[in-house]
């Protein structure tokens, strides 16, 4: 078990959680691309959010300065992560909370399950949280006989539809209103059969459905958007009020947080509370943000637990180029601008972290070879880099991870890949002028072989499957020059 060798950065373990898909991206993407309804839903939703987000970002004159500060703060956090975590542990504990450390998904699930068991409750209500999705907490709770109830509207739609989330912010982005109405009619006990597909009516149905749960459930599990090391303050940013319910009503609150969600000081919140809503939902501010520091006597949960989760993050931190993926504040702006995500949707990525950030985060959390197709799930157009509120250079990390995969392939296979052979041949040809000129003349043959729709013959056909072959000119520059 070299993976748990003491003190060495470790990737997330296999067999638990949702960081690895069952199939590679190209295989899964091909199925998504054939789903016309899915593509319509995604196209409509991402276009809507892009317009909204651009409008509110345009309102602030200092957007680039805020991005720069956000990037710098997160860089500083990563450089000082161990000491800041120790500081957070001290401040949370001093404020009446209990801090737990989870090296991986298995341990985090066990800690939460034990904490819920200790309360005697057989049901927990949950605020939407990527960390608990990542570790497969719901499955672990169910296995222990504890019912997890998702309270975020989109998570509820996913849970009732026995579906998988497909977007960081809006897990049910792949569902339109008519499909949501059908799921509610089928799965929501006591729902009005006259339910329409009007979004306000659907939201009201969720309100009625969950109010009793909110009032009667004694334990809640949340994630965290930010944790302030200096003060021990946790922040959850949301829209519906389900977060406020879960953070206020129960006796016991358990917050599961990736260790990278730290920010050093109270004042640093001013940067991220401006960046996140505008980049995420395209709002000047999301409807509700809750901040709490430990336990407040007489107000809210009197028993507060914070679970600090590694689960592969230390391995991401160990990579000098890749570690900036830990700066992510889960806004999902990169998904909404990505031409690949917009067409394939989130399920094709296999991991709970889809889109451009998922393509760099998931392979690093699991080790590149466990998600080897994801770094290639991009056209490297760079829209994600421009959209990222903390300026994560996603295209550079993608290229870096592609190189890692190529190196891993080379070290595991004695025979070079066909791509490597082709590239080596091309390099040799370009180094030798007579060969190069001959190759240019020969390439004219592909004017016939490579007509649109035709593509190259095997074994080169894989290359032209998803690309148009450039048409070689009837005369090369060299030939034209020789005639002058």
């Amino acid at each position: 078990m070299t993976e748990t060798f003491l003190g060495m950065p470790a990737t997330a373990p296999r067999g638990v959680g949702h960081l690895r898909g069952d199939e590679s991206f190209p295989v899964a993407a091909r199925r998504s691309l054939a789903d016309a309804q899915l593509r319509r839903n995604l196209g409509h939703a991402t276009a809507t959010i892009r317009t909204k987000s651009a409008a509110v970002i345009g309102e602030v004159p200092d957007w680039q300065e805020l991005r720069e500060a956000g990037r710098a703060i997160k860089t500083d956090v990563m450089a000082r992560l161990p000491e800041l975590l120790e500081q957070l542990e001290a401040t949370v504990t001093a404020a009446g909370g209990t801090v737990h450390w989870a090296a991986d998904a298995v341990e985090a699930n066990r800690i939460v399950t034990d904490l819920v068991r200790a309360t005697g409750s057989d049901r927990v209500m949950k605020v939407k949280s990527m960390a608990t999705q990542e570790i497969g907490l719901n499955e672990a709770l169910e296995a222990a006989g504890i019912e997890p109830v998702e309270t975020d509207l989109a998570e509820l739609i996913v849970q009732l539809g026995r579906d998988k989330p497909s977007h960081i912010l809006v897990p049910a982005i792949h569902r339109n209103r008519a499909e949501i109405r059908e799921i509610f009619l089928r799965e929501m006990p006591g729902v009005d059969p006259a339910l329409t597909d009007e979004p306000a009516i659907l939201a009201a149905a969720a309100r009625r459905h969950l109010r009793r749960t909110f009032l009667s459930t004694r334990v809640a599990v949340s994630g965290a958007n930010f944790a302030v090391a200096e003060t021990g303050t946790l922040a959850v940013v949301e829209s519906e009020g389900n977060g406020r319910m879960c953070l206020t009503l129960p006796d016991t609150l358990i917050t599961v947080m990736g260790i990278e969600k730290l920010i050093p000081t109270w004042a640093d919140l001013e940067v991220f509370l401006q960046l996140l809503p505008r980049a995420s939902t395209g709002e000047r501010m999301n409807p509700y943000t809750s901040m709490w520091t430990g336990v407040t006597p007489g107000d809210g949960p009197q028993d507060f637990h914070l679970v600090l989760l590694d689960n592969g993050r230390s391995a991401v931190l160990a990579d000098e180029v890749g570690r900036q993926a830990l700066h992510c504040i889960r806004c999902s702006a990169c998904l909404n601008v990505c031409p690949v995500y917009e067409r394939t949707g989130g399920h094709a990525y296999g991991s709970v972290y889809p889109g451009p950030i998922g393509a760099v985060l998931s392979p690093q959390l699991t080790g590149v070879e466990d998600n080897a197709s994801l770094p290639f799930a991009s056209s490297l157009c760079g829209a994600c880099f421009d959209a990222c509120p903390v300026m994560i250079d996603i295209p550079s990390i993608l290229v870096h991870l592609r190189a890692q995969h190529v190196a891993a392939y080379r070290s595991e296979h004695r025979v070079p890949s066909p791509e490597a052979i082709t590239m080596a041949a091309a390099a040799y040809t370009m180094d030798h002028l007579p060969l190069y000129e001959a190759a240019q003349r020969a390439s004219r043959v592909t004017r016939f072989a490579g007509r649109r729709g035709g593509g190259l013959p095997p074994p080169l056909s894989g290359w032209t499957l998803g690309r148009d072959l450039p048409q070689p000119p009837p005369q090369t520059f060299r030939e034209w020059w020789a005639q002058r």
């Binding site: 300065e65 989870a102 969720a206 009503l249 509370l273 709002e283 509700y288």
Partner: protein
């Protein structure tokens, strides 16, 4: 070895090979201290479907009457009584059971700070704002705000607030963007938010 030691050891090892220097953070964005424009606040609140009333302190009771007259209203213990008309049934929160708060038609609170640029009112659970639960369960929230509580931007708000109390930042009524990414008002929190702005 505990998991705490394991994780901290892994992180130190991760940084050890290629440490990054803790960098100075350049803060060239707009700092606290911008000019407050009440019209901006009103516009932003209204834009996110809050209802704004501007009146004198003496007229607050009349406004509350128009919104919640004849109905049951929960209030925090420190709320100025002059804001409440005779027409409402007042339920003072002295640790009321959750079911009784849930059964109330509305809630009247004060506020701690408001952010003009984002259309946000912030409650810090002070005596005139009460426990977090009372401004959450009733379907109508009337929030009385003094003009001297309004600040220009988010940095100003954080400078006025502290971590010692639980904070609730409210920007419009409860909403969701979960159905086709369009904002719809009204899910679990109060579906009606009234902000009453009175001179300081």
């Amino acid at each position: 070895m505990t998991s705490r030691e394991l994780i901290l050891g892994r992180l130190r090892a991760a940084l050890g090979a290629s440490p990054t220097t803790p960098g100075e953070v350049t803060r060239d964005y707009r700092p606290a201290g911008g000019a407050v424009d009440l019209d901006v606040l009103v516009h932003r609140l209204t834009d996110y479907r809050a209802t704004v009333h501007r009146c004198s302190d003496g007229e607050v009771a009349r406004v509350v009457d128009a919104i919640l007259g004849g109905r049951r209203v929960v209030v925090p213990p420190g709320l100025p009584r002059r804001w409440l008309p005779d027409t409402v049934e007042v339920l003072t929160d002295d640790d009321l059971p959750t079911d009784r708060v849930d059964a109330a038609d509305g809630v009247v609170t004060a506020a701690a700070v408001a952010v003009a640029e984002t259309g946000t009112v912030i409650l810090d659970a002070g005596p005139a704002q009460g426990r977090r639960v009372i401004s959450l369960l009733p379907d109508v929230h009337v929030c009385v705000l003094r003009t001297d509580q309004v600040v220009a931007g988010v940095p100003d708000a954080l400078a006025r607030l502290g971590p010692d109390r639980p904070l609730t930042w409210i920007s419009g009524p409860s909403a969701t963007s979960d159905i086709e990414l369009n904002r719809v008002e009204g899910v679990h929190g109060p579906r009606n938010l009234h902000v009453v702005i009175v001179p300081a």
